[in-house]
Structure formats: structure tokens, C-alpha cells
């Protein structure tokens, strides 16, 4: 062979020495996925061999030289029922097995740590709750459930980690989630698998799975100093959200403390769960998310807050247990204007912040006045 083409020979040698048919099994789900893959390979192989044997066997046995006269056969209901029912049964096994895996991969455990991902042409931005920002990389601890809440700020992307056997579309205008539990420390490929324009194939990155200790070190070493919730808090103040969502009696907007995860009643009587998606939607399309009992006076913030800013706000509202915290942090936080730019806050942030705080000097959470609200904040 190498007389024929040295280059090809070199490739074949290289391939045979670094022979890989499977990506590394680096997540808790990967062995289950591979087991299912082997089952599918097995039934495919059986099917293929069966068809191959029938075609080759009959071709040899009944070739014209051997069998000059064809025998008329109409069909056989029994045989046909057999090769209808057996494949059907096997496909049903695949269906159930596949569905179990799917529900496991797409239903995150409740205690998973959450990281936000924003996709844009052509990069991945990761936002850790602790304020670590990464581009085209994601550092995660092993042996811990990690949930990704992802959104695209332009076109469809898809977040794929072959070594973890997980993937999910990243959609403009809506959060999608995926979770995994890394088992092996190492660096793995991150691909965008949904075609997204010119540099689609450059929208790649590294997933760095680290031991808990290393991860701890990394977290401390790469934080920007402001958690997402803190950024969100500033943005909340700078946009003047607290002028209506003050949590006081007779406030024009609903009380946001403890709203996350609760059931809220919308204008028209529909009840929905206030999840990330609902919070984000309320900021961008207030009219379609108007809550019962409040005048639909909220303006849209479409175009005024970036996806990262929305994540900050959502993260802030999620952690909002009481209105006390709003006021406390508003008064205590050490603010520097240079950090405001990163979150999209206006330069005159400080004055607006103080104004906002001054309007409600010592407001206490007043749950009795929060109409149509979920559980009372403690």
C-alpha cells in the first residue's frame, strides 16, 4: 500500500495507532448512552446480516443456472406477520430505552448548580453565578450536577459536548436547559452544532472539568468581583424597577420577593409558574405577561437590556427572598462606575440608586397587599 501512496499509508498507520470509535466517556450519562448505542448496533448488525444472508443465500441457491424454473409463491401471512411484529417489538424497546435517556438528560435535578450560557455569532459566553465570565470555555467541577440555562442573542445555535453525550439547541428569545454530571477531569470539545453562519465551525471551545479543589481555586481566581445577582441588583435599580416593584402596599407592580418558582395568576385567569423564562418574558413583553390585579402600565424593555443584563436581572430576582434585601444591598453596595458599563447600567447610576432607595426608606415586606401572589416571603 505504501508503494502506492505514502501519504495514505501514513494516515492509516496513524489511525490504527490512535484508533477511536467512541469519544471519551466523561459524564455520568455517557456509559448509559454507550450501552444503548451498543444495543442499537447489535440489532442493526443482526438485521443487516439477516438481509445479507437472505439476499446472498437465495442468489446463490436460486440463480438461473441452478434453478431454471421459478416457482410461483403468492406470499405468506405468517412470515409477513413475523417480520412485522419482531422489528416492531425491537423498535418499541428502542423507543422506551431512548425515552428514558431523554427524560433523564432533559430533566435537570433540582439541586444542580446553574450556569448561564449566551450564544452569539460566533462565540459562547458563559456566566457563572459567582460573577466569572468566560468566552469559548466553560470550567465546571466534576461529580457535581451542573445545569446550563442557555439563550441565543441572534440565531439558532446548539451547545454540544460529545464527551458528555449531551447537546441542546440554543434558541433566540427563549431559555433552554441541559444538565450533566462530569466524572472525569479533563478538557473536552465544545461544539456549536447548529449551522449559524460564516464562522460556524469556529464557534467551538473547551469544556474544562476540574476536581472540586481545582475548581474552587479557579472560582476564586477568576471572579470579576461582582456576582450576577449583584450586577442584576444594580441594573434593577438603574432601570428604576423598584419604583413600581417596591413591595409596599399599593405598589403599582407586583411584589417580586419570593416570586421565583411560585404560581402566578395572569390577566385573564391563566396560572403559570414564574420560572426564568417567565421573568425574562415579563421584562421584554410585559403586556403578554400582565399579572391579574395590576394595571398593564409596564413599558417594554426590549432593546434596552442585553441578554447578559436579563440574566443578571433574572438571577437577582431569583434570589430575592425579601424586600429587605433590596434595600439593604442598595444602600451597602460599593459601586464603581466602571463596573456599571459592563452591565449596561447608566453612568448616573449612583444618583438613581439613591433616589430609588430614598423613596422607600424603611419599607418592610408587606405580603398582605401582594395581590395574586404566591407563597409569602419570610
Amino acid at each position: 500500500m505504501h508503494f502506492f501512496s505514502p501519504v495514505l499509508w501514513q494516515f492509516l498507520v496513524k489511525w490504527l495507532t490512535e484508533f477511536a470509535l467512541f469519544p471519551p466517556e466523561a459524564s455520568a450519562i455517557a456509559p448509559y448512552m454507550d450501552a444503548f448505542y451498543f444495543f442499537l448496533l447489535l440489532i442493526s448488525l443482526v438485521g443487516l446480516v439477516l438481509v445479507g444472508l437472505m439476499v446472498a443465500g437465495f442468489s446463490i441457491m436460486f440463480r438461473k443456472e441452478k434453478n431454471p424454473q421459478a416457482t410461483h409463491i403468492e406470499g405468506s401471512t405468517l412470515l409477513e406477520a413475523t417480520w412485522t411484529i419482531i422489528p416492531l417489538a425491537l423498535f418499541m424497546v428502542c423507543f422506551v430505552w431512548g425515552a428514558l435517556l431523554y427524560f433523564r438528560i432533559y430533566n435537570p435535578p433540582t439541586n444542580a448548580m446553574n450556569i448561564y450560557i449566551v450564544g452569539k455569532q460566533w462565540m459562547w459566553k458563559a456566566e457563572h453565578p459567582g460573577g466569572q465570565h468566560e468566552i469559548n470555555a466553560l470550567h465546571i467541577p466534576v461529580d457535581r450536577d451542573v445545569q446550563l440555562t442557555m439563550i441565543s442573542q441572534d440565531v439558532f445555535h446548539s451547545f454540544s459536548i460529545p464527551a458528555f453525550r449531551v447537546k441542546r439547541e440554543v434558541i433566540p428569545g427563549r431559555y433552554s436547559t441541559v444538565w450533566f454530571r462530569a466524572t472525569q477531569p479533563g478538557t473536552y470539545h465544545l461544539f456549536c452544532t447548529q449551522y449559524c453562519g460564516t464562522l460556524h465551525s469556529a464557534m467551538i471551545g473547551d469544556i474544562v472539568a476540574m476536581s472540586p479543589d481545582d475548581y474552587q481555586k479557579w472560582t476564586v481566581g477568576s471572579t470579576s468581583g461582582q456576582s450576577l445577582a449583584q450586577n442584576g441588583e444594580r441594573l434593577y435599580a438603574s432601570l428604576g424597577c423598584n419604583s413600581c416593584h417596591s413591595g409596599t402596599a399599593g405598589a403599582r407592580g407586583p411584589n417580586l420577593a419570593g416570586i421565583y418558582g411560585s404560581k402566578v395568576t395572569l390577566e385573564g385567569g391563566r396560572t403559570v409558574t414564574a420560572d426564568d423564562e417567565f421573568l425574562r418574558g415579563s421584562i421584554l413583553n410585559p403586556t403578554t405577561h400582565a399579572m391579574a390585579g395590576y394595571a398593564p402600565i409596564m413599558p417594554t424593555y426590549q432593546g434596552q437590556v442585553s441578554e447578559e443584563g436579563l440574566i443578571d436581572l433574572v438571577e437577582y430576582i431569583k434570589g430575592l427572598d425579601t424586600n429587605d434585601r433590596v434595600h439593604q444591598t442598595l444602600n451597602d453596595s460599593n459601586f464603581s462606575p466602571s463596573q456599571a458599563g459592563a452591565t449596561g447600567a447608566a453612568p448616573n447610576y449612583r444618583s438613581r440608586q439613591l433616589t430609588g432607595a430614598d423613596q422607600m426608606p424603611d419599607a418592610k415586606p408587606d405580603t398582605s397587599t401582594s395581590k395574586g401572589m404566591g407563597p409569602s416571603p419570610q
Binding site: 434453478n67 421459478a70 409463491i73 423507543f95 431523554y102 470539545h189 449551522y195 460564516t198
Partner: protein, 553 residues
């Protein structure tokens, strides 16, 4: 109940003095013809052109992927290459391939009719196809389009600066061409069958074309609506798909796949019809379980409409709707399995010969089995998460569309070539081409399954270096495959003048099209045939007296 095969003596055969080919002369007689056979030839020439155009793009794609670095063409050019490859191959080759050429030519003769129900609509459909081709080629010449053949929004509507609307117009018009073909087949099958030609005496080729036609007529309008919405959104920003205007980008996916999944069956069903004819003819035996094969075509057409969301399992559809679509996907796999087993069982106790169409049909069975079974991988919800949008899916649909459909198309072209032209193709060379195609195909696309499980995403211009060896294998295979496709083109052209004269029934096949002269006269039948036998009745053929063979002039 047995049949002795007596192949006619081809040395004695002569070309008939008058046939559809020489009844009229001049370009005008071709461009204004209403004859389904001439229109089929027009289609044959035009789709061959587009096949090689699309094939050239595929060649460039594979050449670029020889190395992990993006070095042969720029990223934008690469994106345009795979987009144009997809658009041309799907809409201008695969969808019209078997129905518009072979179907157009033999379907009316098979049912015993003089022409299709609406000859002028049939001609219109070819003109629409040409207009669609002109739009597509002008999108190409003006600088190309890089949406991917799926026209995914919001990429296609807001983020690209290329000729999206021109290309979408091309596809839109090609859709109407396909609707008219389907309409013609449905009406012809219902209304124009010869006396005695009951539904269950129809060749299975007609059944599968009937099923595919239903899909064309019912599915294609949805594609047209989708593309109009994309064009309106792009030109005027109507906001149906744009989330910032309250639109839903997933709606586009639903609409697009509502057509484009049935389109897969529009492409494959006619090919399955060809395989039924070829396997039966060269085993000299009726297709095993005629009714099951006929109804499995209809079942595929019906179920085919209810599986579209399996293209969207990872796109955030509700988990429970994913569950339903996965279940239906498993159900649609069953009729395909039935067909494969029935064809294999047809060989049992046959009297088999291995002419070129039969070799292509065997190729189809092997490759389509692999393509179908890997479809089960992708239909299984959990496995789809890992495999979708990777090279696994590229390999899967190429096994079905190229390994399956193109093999069937080539089987059909070789099988009916003597009928269309009155001359035989060279047997030795064509067997070589069949083997070359098969080997080249396996080498090209099998490594892509492995690449896919390793995680290499589709539509990647550059890739991590560890995937190189498999990509080199694939490119090497594509070279072989290219030769396999060029060969028939060359020897078929050669045979037009130098091929042996075929005679009316070189394969001793039972279809009505084989009982008339080759090439057929313009009016197909001198007198309306009266059908008094079942399809694939080789007994009847053996007892048929020679003077019944009709030749004009």
C-alpha cells in the same frame, strides 16, 4: 406453476420504423410536446445536468475536508457550497428524479393509458422545473446563498447578505412542478387505467408513485407557504418568526419539516417502486406478498405526515410531544422493514440473473437497510441528543437518499433504458459501474457514522485534527463514487448510437410497457390493451403468442 425463462434473441431485433423519438423532428417538436415520453426525456437531461452540478459541489466539499484547516476555500464559500449542494440535490434532483423521468415515461404505459391525464400540465411542470433551475443557478451565479438547504430562520431572514429570496423562489417554483407531477399521477391512476387493470393488478411501481404523489400534493403547499413567509419576513420584516417581534422561530422549524420530512418519502417511495419491478423481473417471480408491499407504501405515506417533529427533539419541544413523535417514528420504520424482507423473500425459489439493474437493486437493499436502521438510532429520543446535527445524521440520510434512492434511480434508468431508447447499455461496463458506486459509497459514508458518534458536527468548514483520518477515507471514497457516477453517463450516451438493439422485451418482464415496441410509438398502444392477468404473471407471459407483440410500421 413454473415458468421457463426464454430470453428473446436480440440479434434479430430491429428498431421500429416509427416511434415517439422520430415521429416529429426539430427542437420545437420537443419543447412544445405533450407526449409524456418526450417530457420524461427532457426531465432526464435536465436532472442529469443538475445532478452533476450538485455532485461537483459535493466534490469540492470533500476536497476541502481533506485537511482539518480551512484552506481550500473561504468559510463563506464553503457554506455556499454545502447549501447549493443540498438545494440542488434535494429539490432539483432527488424529488423529481424517479417520478419525473422514469415515472413520467412508464407510469401511463403501465396502467395502459395513451398519456398522462393532463399532458399540458405535465409540460408546464417541466417548464416550472426549468424556471426553478434558472432561479437557483442565478442565485449561484450572483454570488451564492449560504443558508443551508433548510433556510433556517432567523439566520436566513435577518443575518445573511446573500441571495436568499432568489434561491427560495427557485425552491418555491420547483415545488409547483412537483405538485403538478403528483396531480397528474393521481388522476391518471384513478381514471385512465385500461379495462381489466384493477387496483390490485397495478404494478407496485404505480402503487409507490401513487403514494408519493399524495405526499407531493398534500405536503408541498406547506413548503410554499413557509418559503413565502421567509421571503416576506426577510423583505418586509413581518415578524412571524422573529422573537423580538413576538414571532416564534420554532414555528419555522415545524412548518419546514412538515413538508421536508414527507419529502424524504416523496424521494424514496418511487425508488422502492423501481426496486419492486427490478427484483421481480430478474427473479422471474411475482413480488412476495404483493398486497403487503402495496399497502406498506400507503402506510409510509400516511405515517410520514406525522413524524416531522423528530427533527426537533433537541430544540426545546415539550418532552411529551417528543415522546409521541418518537413513537410514530418507530411505527414508520416498520413498513420499510416489511418491504426489505418481502423483496428478499421474492428471491426465494426464483430463477435469478444478475443484470446491472439487479446489482443496483441489491446495492439498494444493503445500503437502505443500513440507512433505515440508523434512522432508528436517530428516532430513539436519548440517542438523538448525541447524534443529531453530527456527521452521523449526514451519513444516515446519504445512506437513504444516495445509497437508497440514487441506487434505485440508476437501477431504474438501466432497467428502462432499452425501452426509452430502443438500445442496450454495455453490460460489462455497467456492472463495473454498479460495483464502483457501491464500494465508493461505503467508503465515503461509512466513516461518517464513526465521525458522528465521535461528535464531529455537520456543516463544519474546519474540524479538530483527530478527525482527519476518517475524513481522508471519506474523501477517497467520494473520488471513487464520482467515477462510479460518471461511467454510466458516458456509456449511456455512447449506447444511444452504438448500443445493441434491444427489442421490445429484453428482460422478459411482464409490465404492459414491455409488451409494446421499444422505443414505444407516440400513442403507446395501437389498440387499448385489455388486462386479463395479475401483475408479475410470468405464466401469462410465457404463454403469450408472439404475434401479440405490437409494432408499428
Amino acid at each position: 406453476m413454473s415458468t421457463i425463462v426464454r430470453l428473446p434473441n436480440q440479434q434479430d431485433a430491429t428498431l421500429p420504423k416509427r416511434s415517439y423519438l422520430n415521429s416529429e423532428y426539430g427542437l420545437k417538436s420537443w419543447l412544445l410536446t405533450g407526449d409524456h415520453k418526450r417530457i420524461a426525456i427532457l426531465y432526464l437531461i435536465s436532472i442529469t445536468f443538475f445532478f452533476f452540478l450538485g455532485g461537483a459541489f459535493a466534490g469540492l466539499i470533500r476536497l476541502e475536508l481533506l485537511t482539518p484547516m480551512p484552506d481550500l476555500v473561504a468559510s463563506d464559500t464553503y457554506n455556499k457550497l454545502f447549501t447549493m449542494h443540498g438545494i440542488i440535490m434535494v429539490f432539483l434532483f432527488l424529488v423529481p428524479s424517479v417520478p419525473a423521468t422514469i415515472g413520467n415515461f412508464v407510469l401511463p404505459i403501465m396502467v395502459g393509458a395513451r398519456d398522462l391525464a393532463f399532458p399540458k400540465v405535465n409540460l408546464l411542470s417541466w417548464y416550472l422545473y426549468i424556471v426553478a433551475g434558472i432561479f437557483t443557478v442565478s442565485a449561484l451565479v450572483l454570488g451564492g446563498v449560504d443558508t443551508g438547504w433548510t433556510f433556517t430562520t432567523p439566520l436566513s431572514t435577518h443575518y445573511l447578505n446573500t441571495h436568499v429570496i432568489t434561491a427560495a423562489m427557485g425552491v418555491f417554483i420547483a415545488g409547483f412542478s412537483s405538485i403538478f407531477t403528483g396531480l397528474n399521477f393521481i388522476v391518471t391512476t384513478h381514471r385512465m387505467r385500461a379495462p381489466g387493470m384493477t387496483w390490485f393488478r397495478l404494478p407496485l411501481f404505480v402503487w409507490s408513485h401513487y403514494a408519493a404523489s399524495l405526499l407531493m400534493v398534500l405536503g408541498t403547499p406547506v413548503l410554499a407557504i413557509t418559503l413565502v413567509l421567509v421571503a416576506l419576513e426577510r423583505a418586509f420584516g413581518i415578524g412571524v418568526f422573529d422573537p423580538t417581534k413576538g414571532g416564534d422561530p420554532l414555528l419555522f422549524q415545524h412548518l419546514f419539516w412538515f413538508y421536508s420530512h414527507p419529502a424524504v418519502y416523496i424521494m424514496i417511495l418511487p425508488g422502492m417502486g423501481v426496486i419492486s419491478e427490478v427484483i421481480s423481473t430478474f427473479s422471474r417471480k411475482r413480488v412476495f406478498g404483493y398486497t403487503a408491499v402495496a399497502f406498506s407504501s400507503v402506510a409510509i405515506a400516511v405515517f410520514g405526515f406525522f413524524v416531522w417533529a423528530h427533527h426537533m427533539f433537541i430544540m426545546g419541544v415539550s418532552n411529551y410531544s417528543a415522546l409521541v413523535f418518537s413513537l410514530l417514528t418507530m411505527l414508520v420504520a416498520v413498513p420499510s422493514a416489511i418491504k426489505i424482507f418481502n423483496w428478499a423473500a421474492t428471491l426465494y425459489k426464483g430463477s435469478i440473473t444478475f443484470e446491472t439493474p439487479m446489482l443496483y437493486a441489491f446495492g439498494f437493499m444493503g445500503l437502505f437497510t443500513i440507512g433505515g436502521l440508523t434512522g432508528v438510532f436517530l428516532g430513539s429520543l436519548g440517542m438523538d441528543i448525541h447524534l443529531t446535527e453530527t456527521y452521523f445524521i449526514v451519513a444516515h440520510f446519504h445512506f437513504v437518499m444516495v445509497g437508497g434512492m440514487l441506487m434505485a434511480y440508476l437501477a431504474g434508468v438501466h432497467f428502462w433504458w432499452p425501452k426509452m431508447t430502443g438500445r442496450m447499455y454495455p453490460e460489462g461496463l455497467s456492472k463495473l459501474a454498479a460495483f464502483t458506486t457501491f464500494i465508493g459509497f461505503i467508503l465515503t459514508f461509512f466513516p461518517q457514522f464513526v465521525l458522528g458518534y465521535l461528535g464531529m458536527p455537520r456543516r463544519y468548514h474546519a474540524y479538530p485534527p483527530e478527525f482527519q483520518v476518517l475524513n481522508v477515507l471519506s474523501t477517497a471514497g467520494a473520488t471513487v463514487l464520482g467515477i462510479g457516477y460518471l461511467l454510466p453517463m458516458i456509456y449511456m450516451t455512447w449506447s444511444l448510437k452504438y448500443g445493441a438493439i434491444a427489442g421490445s422485451n429484453p428482460w422478459q418482464a411482464t409490465g404492459l410497457e414491455w409488451q409494446i415496441q421499444s422505443p414505444p410509438p407516440t400513442e403507446n398502444f395501437i389498440e387499448t390493451p385489455i388486462v386479463d392477468h395479475e401483475a408479475y404473471d410470468y405464466e401469462w407471459l410465457a404463454n403469450k403468442t408472439p404475434h401479440e407483440v405490437t409494432t408499428v410500421g
